[in-house]
């Protein structure tokens, strides 16, 4: 079969070839196209091609650029001659990707590939139309050479003062067509000249295999230990953050996400920097451990309670899995000029985030025990996946991913650790549960009012302890400090002083220091001495027997009175209502102002708000003479122009023999005239779907926004809604 087009090429492929294409470009089969022609269309769509180009390595992309610079059809030899000897492999890959296809006469590119790559691939100008004697370039005068050096590596355009009067160097080049004028002030260097000057190659240099990652060698054991520590730490951070928000939910910004102040607050609370705090918040958000509720409050979800009960391994896997696949980039928070990007906000999604993350992790995993240095690592990642769509943040993305991988424990001391590798390969046992330090079930209380948990605390103990003590230092161990405020917090949580004491005595391996015991007792003694509550009104009476009477009066049950002192009752109703109820029951209350003075005199209310009298909708004032003249003038002018327009339209209509068209005003006018004359009309009428049909009608009357008329086609009476009448013309 003769291959002339991309479609032909696709037809020529066998099943294996097609599967290969689909494997390389999965977007082509979702959904599966109905036939090869539509496959070809989809495969040449710019969107799909852009995706395909994104998955090329730097070398492959260079080869593709070189191909664009060649005239079609070209051969592999042509490609190699202007690039690198290893181009053959890349060409095969490009063919697999469907970015290049063989025809009978040679290799070709699907049309949209060359359109998609910028007009000047690899900084080369367009092909020359004239025949060039490139050998003459070696005799170029000094001035011309200077110009050439400027343009050699692109962009191939240069501006000149005036094309008609160029300098001697440019003139020499223009004469020989080594430069071509683009417009009045711009010249461009043809592609052939560029390639010639670049020594017959398209790019400065080629690297056909990925550059090796360099870095520091680490000892496997300490890498894993460090990673385990990171994992333990990150789990602690998440827990700490969510407990914090459980106490005091943060308010989301109106524009969505977490405010800078709240971010600062949590970073100070957990003792990490703000980037890390943003990362932890995002991590919890992705894993569904926190949610932003209807009242815009940020607080932990029920999943958090479930998560807490799970093993460390499961907890970590949940976090890790979500981090790997998300398109959200927490590194963007607080970055340089983009200060307004909020954690948990709507602006964190980036196209390449997940793929970059995956690439970084895989690359790390390929070289266990190597802590790469950022520059070499970035270079390699950029070779494997030179980002065309988001080049701006690719380098940062890589740095952020490395940073986050360390926080999360994919790496320890910067090198890939066994837990992350096991997780990626999907093995059942990651080994976290066995390697993390075993939780301890005791604390050591010391006489300086601190308690130290010499390892990760069991969950319940940690929760109870943090209710009555403040965390002073975190890490392998936790240092808690007891203070009056922290004990008070425990009491506020509903624990009694005795409960706190028993809990501490039970949990502490060391005897309870007496000062702490006293501190707890002292605070407990004072706690709740003052009581504060809400009430709407009070009833006061110096006669306690009257108070007793009121309390026992069944008719006053509605007031739900509570006696708070022998002479004072409080009531849920407001003072005016309470007084009405009391009066109806036969008592004689008087109102008391907040300063205790009696409010006497009859009640006569005044509004606090400013008066806002209603707007008057009345008759229209007769317009002044000048207004009238102006109005008339403007109407006349409008009329003239619309008349002119409708004339032109009529001409066009009659020329085409199509439906009549009139403006809404004209329509009304004509209808009114012809209803009066009882003369047949031709109208255009739009149906429900907007299709306009031509009707001949005898108008009868206009009523309720419709024209009632007899339709000649059916001979029946029908009403035509006036807005749907597209035009009227007399017959």
């Amino acid at each position: 079969m003769e291959i002339r087009s991309f479609t032909d090429y696709l037809r020529s492929l066998d099943d294996a070839g097609l599967s290969e294409l689909f494997a390389a470009r999965p977007d082509l089969v979702s959904p599966v196209p109905p036939d090869l022609a539509s496959l070809a269309v989809r495969a040449s769509s710019s969107h799909s091609i852009a995706r395909a180009i994104d998955s090329l390595t730097e070398f492959e992309f260079q080869i593709l650029e070189a191909c664009v610079a060649l005239d079609e059809e070209f051969t592999l030899k042509n490609v190699i001659s202007i690039t690198h000897k290893d181009a053959a492999l890349a060409v095969v890959r490009l063919i697999t990707f469907g970015l290049l296809y063989p025809t009978d006469k040679g290799l070709r590119l699907p049309t949209s590939v060359s359109q998609l790559l910028i007009n000047e691939p690899a900084g080369l100008g367009p092909a020359s139309l004239a025949k060039l004697k490139l050998t003459e370039l070696s005799e170029a005068p000094e001035a011309a050479n200077r110009v050439l050096t400027q343009l050699i590596w692109g962009p191939p355009r240069g501006s000149v003062g005036d094309i008609k009067n160029p300098g001697p160097g440019i003139a020499w080049l223009l004469d020989r067509k080594f430069l071509v004028p683009l417009d009045q002030r711009t010249v461009i260097m043809p592609r052939e000249v560029g390639i010639f000057l670049r020594g017959g190659k398209v790019h400065k240099s080629y690297q056909s295999t990925a550059p090796a990652v360099t870095g520091t060698k680490r000892v496997e054991k300490s890498v894993n230990m460090a990673a385990a520590a990171n994992i333990a730490t990150v789990l602690g951070w998440v827990e700490e953050l969510l407990h914090f928000w459980a106490q005091e939910p943060a308010d989301a910004l109106r524009s969505g996400g977490l405010g800078v102040r709240d971010l600062k607050l949590i970073s100070a609370h957990i003792g990490i920097d703000e980037n890390c705090a943003a990362f932890i918040a995002e991590l919890s958000y992705l894993a569904g451990l926190l949610t932003i509720d209807g009242d815009d409050r940020i607080l932990p979800s029920n999943n958090f309670d479930i998560w807490l009960t799970q093993s460390a391994e499961t907890r970590w896997s949940t976090l890790a899995a979500n981090w790997l696949t998300t398109s959200r980039v927490s590194g963007l928070v607080g970055r340089g000029e983009a200060k307004s990007v909020a954690t948990l906000g709507p602006e964190l999604d980036r196209v390449n985030a997940a793929s970059t993350r995956k690439l970084v992790i895989n690359l790390l995993n390929e070289q266990p025990n190597l802590a790469p240095d950022l520059a070499s690592f970035t270079r390699t990642v950029k070779w494997i996946a030179p980002s065309k769509r988001n080049p701006g943040i690719q380098e940062e993305l890589i740095a952020w991913t490395l940073r986050e991988a360390e926080w999360l424990g994919f790496t320890g001391q910067g090198a890939s650790a066994k837990y992350g590798r096991a997780f990626i390969t999907g093995s059942d046992e990651i080994g976290i549960d066995t390697d993390l330090p075993k939780p301890v079930d005791h604390i050591l209380i010391q006489s300086d009012n601190t308690a130290i948990a010499p390892g990760p605390l069991e969950h319940d103990i940690a929760r109870d302890l943090s209710a009555v003590a403040d965390i002073e230092s975190r890490g392998g161990a936790t240092v808690y400090r007891f203070s009056e405020a922290s004990i008070r917090r425990g009491l506020d949580h509903g624990k009694s002083g005795e409960e706190i004491r028993t809990f501490l005595v039970k949990t502490s391996k060391t005897p309870m220091p007496q000062p702490l015991e006293y501190l707890i007792a002292d605070v407990a003694k004072k706690h709740g001495k003052l009581r504060v509550g809400n009430t709407s009104s009070f009833i006061r009476c110096e006669d306690t027997s009257l108070i007793a009477q009121i309390m026992s009066d069944k008719r006053l049950d509605v007031l739900s009175l509570r006696k708070i002192a022998s002479e004072v009752l409080i009531c849920d109703l407001d003072a005016a209502d309470a007084m009405n109820v009391l009066r109806n029951a036969g008592y004689l209350p008087a109102a008391e102002a907040s300063n205790g003075a009696l409010i006497t005199g009859h009640r006569s209310h005044r509004a606090k708000a400013k008066p806002k009298p209603p707007r008057v909708i009345g008759e229209i004032d007769p317009p002044s003479e000048s207004t009238l003249t102006a109005a008339v003038r403007s109407i006349r002018a409008g009329e003239k122009s619309s008349h002119k327009q409708s004339k032109i339209r009529d001409l066009a209509a009659s020329a085409l023999g199509s439906l009549p068209r009139t403006t809404a005003n004209e329509t009304m006018d004509l209808l009114a005239i012809y209803v009066e004359k009882q003369q047949a009309l031709s109208i255009g009428y739009a149906d429900n779907n907007g299709a306009v049909s031509h009707r001949i009608v005898d108008p009868i009357k206009i009523s309720a926004g419709a024209l009632v008329a007899r339709d000649h086609a059916t001979g029946e009476m029908q009403s035509f809604r006036i807005p749907r009448i597209t035009g009227v013309a007399p017959l």
Partner: protein
């Protein structure tokens, strides 16, 4: 995971489990670079600070050693970020060096010209520098040696000082160890100081700081200026030096309000040094007029501001600071370290106690219930009067009487803040009172009587907080203090820490009014001692009256 005694926290604190068998070895290993922060009963807290790490560098430890030590003793994995931070911090030390150049005098020199550019451009540094000699060298005004070191430290580029110390005028001084022997920790402290060049030695009260001073002088063998808090302290230093060293009376001079002697070893008071005449410090010249080889600052936590400023100018002389409690309520600890020198020696009080060099002490807080009438008066008192009111109540006086009676056979000191309260106590108890306006002669006479046991009880105001030597005081009763001063509390406890001949323990009573600010202040005051492992026992005043202690 190993089973080490050390837990490294992510906030750069190190927790040392002292019940662990390896704790002693570990303490020794981390002491050169970590600062002891608190040392209660079970877990001691050390902190890694930039200053501490730089000092370790100065003493010849490199980052790798520090990191290896941490990893070796750590129970859990050490946070990687922390290790990176340590390496990074330590690498900043010594990029800049202060050297003595034969041509240009004092110079700041570097191999990393970017760093030099950075510091030259700093506002605080520029005025201290002289001419730029070349790309990597700049001259420094010799008088600004201290100031530039301090400013560089603040910028985070500590300079390594190779300019050395002046030897001062030589003067033969030796320790005379006939009927006594220098204790191992005193020797360690003196050596630590000598090898470091300058610095601060922290030792508990009663642990013999004077001897550390004497030992340092024996190392220096040069004329020495000793700065002390007051005249009584000056005399005690003199007596001590006469007893412990080869110095004789003619070699030791006193420079105070009363006498102005300048001898090879001169003891001056802070008070006279900071006395102004016509708006200038008339006596600060003392630093300069003589070629001192060593300057000792006693009770360095009390160092007054003018001396601070002056100390910056004498960076080429060796400086030794002595203190029991380097907590300054004014937060100037950092200044002390950068001007006098880093902490060269620090040891938990309890460790010295366990070696028997200071007396074991029991701290007791006696809680006094105010009477109903007193409570009402307290509640309505003006805020600024409240502390005074609740710390001087009549109920307290009765408790003090009961306590003094209980310890009728012991040497008892009653210490307080408010003179009217002390006057009253002195009258009721029938014992002499020593306060600010008591003449030195009278003071010395009373101390003498107290020492010999002729007087069993003394009431003292805050003048006796420091440096009075009362060998046989076993009981201290504190009735009021300077608000929440932790440092004062520690100094007062120090009054009774000298080992007793019969090996008895000392008791430190603090009488506190319950449910008042007195109690809050007491809690704050006790913090330092609690962090040193002194645990307070709280008893009720009624128990004192009923004799149940």
């Amino acid at each position: 995971m190993t089973d080490g005694p050390l837990i490294v926290q992510s906030d750069k604190t190190l927790l040392l489990d002292i019940d662990h068998p390896g704790s002693v070895e570990c303490r020794r290993a981390i002491a050169p670079f970590a600062e002891l922060e608190r040392s209660p009963e079970h877990i001691h807290t050390y902190r890694l600070t930039n200053l501490g790490l730089w000092n370790a560098r100065a003493a010849g430890h490199d980052a790798e050693q520090v990191i290896d030590t941490l990893i070796k003793y750590s129970r859990y994995a050490v946070p990687h970020a922390l290790l990176v931070d340590i390496a990074e911090t330590m690498s900043r030390y010594g990029r800049l060096r202060l050297e003595a150049d034969p041509v240009h005098g004092l110079i700041l020199i570097t191999k990393d010209s970017a760093v030099l550019e950075e510091v030259i451009r700093a506002k605080k540094i520029a005025p201290l520098l002289g001419v730029r000699i070349d790309k990597e060298t700049v001259a420094v005004h010799p008088s600004q040696r201290g100031a530039i070191k301090q400013s560089l430290l603040r910028l985070g580029w500590p300079a390594e000082d190779f300019a050395g110390y002046v030897d001062g005028q030589a003067h033969e001084i030796e320790l005379v160890q006939k009927d006594w022997k220098i204790r191992p920790y005193q020797e360690l402290a003196a050596e630590g100081f000598w090898h470091g060049g300058s610095g601060v030695v922290v030792l508990p009260c009663g642990a013999g700081k004077t001897i550390v001073g004497a030992a340092a002088m024996a190392h220096a063998k040069a004329t020495t200026l000793i700065l002390v808090t007051n005249t009584v302290a000056a005399r005690q230093w003199r007596d001590e030096l006469l007893k412990r060293t080869t110095l004789n009376e003619d070699e030791i001079g006193e420079y105070s309000g009363a006498k102005k002697e300048i001898r090879p070893v001169t003891i001056a008071t802070y008070q006279v040094m900071t006395k102004k005449k016509n708006g200038v410090y008339a006596h600060l010249d003392l630093f300069d007029t003589h070629d001192w080889g060593l300057i000792i600052y006693d009770e360095v936590h009390l160092l007054p501001a003018p001396i601070f400023r002056f100390t910056a100018d004498i960076q080429s002389r060796r400086r030794l600071g002595l203190t029991a409690t380097l907590v300054r309520e004014d937060g100037m600890e950092g200044e002390v370290f950068s001007l006098i020198g880093p902490k060269r020696f620090d040891v938990p009080w309890k460790e010295i106690e366990s070696q028997g060099y200071i007396a074991p002490a029991e701290c007791v807080e006696v809680r006094v219930n105010l009477t109903e009438a007193e409570r009402m008066l307290y509640a309505t008192a003006e805020p600024e009067e409240r502390y005074r009111y609740c710390s001087t109540t009549t109920t307290k006086r009765k408790v003090v009487e009961a306590l003094v009676e209980r310890h009728a056979n012991d040497q008892v000191l009653v210490i307080g803040q408010y003179i009217s309260q002390l006057d009253e106590l002195s009258e009721v108890l029938g014992v002499p009172l020593i306060k600010g306006d008591t003449p030195v002669k009278e003071r010395e006479r009373l101390f003498g009587l107290f020492r010999t046991g002729e007087i069993k009880c003394l009431v003292v105001s805050k003048v006796a907080n420091f440096s009075i030597d009362l060998p046989d005081a076993t009981i201290a009763i504190q009735v009021s203090g300077a608000f929440g001063s932790r440092q004062e509390e520690a100094q007062r406890l120090g009054r009774i820490l000298r080992p007793k001949s019969d090996g008895r323990g000392a008791i430190f009573y603090s009488v506190v009014s319950r449910d008042t600010v007195d109690q809050d202040f007491a809690q704050n005051r006790q913090r330092f001692l609690a962090e040193q492992g002194y645990s307070y026992r709280i008893i009720d005043a009624d128990d004192v009256f009923q004799g149940k202690i």
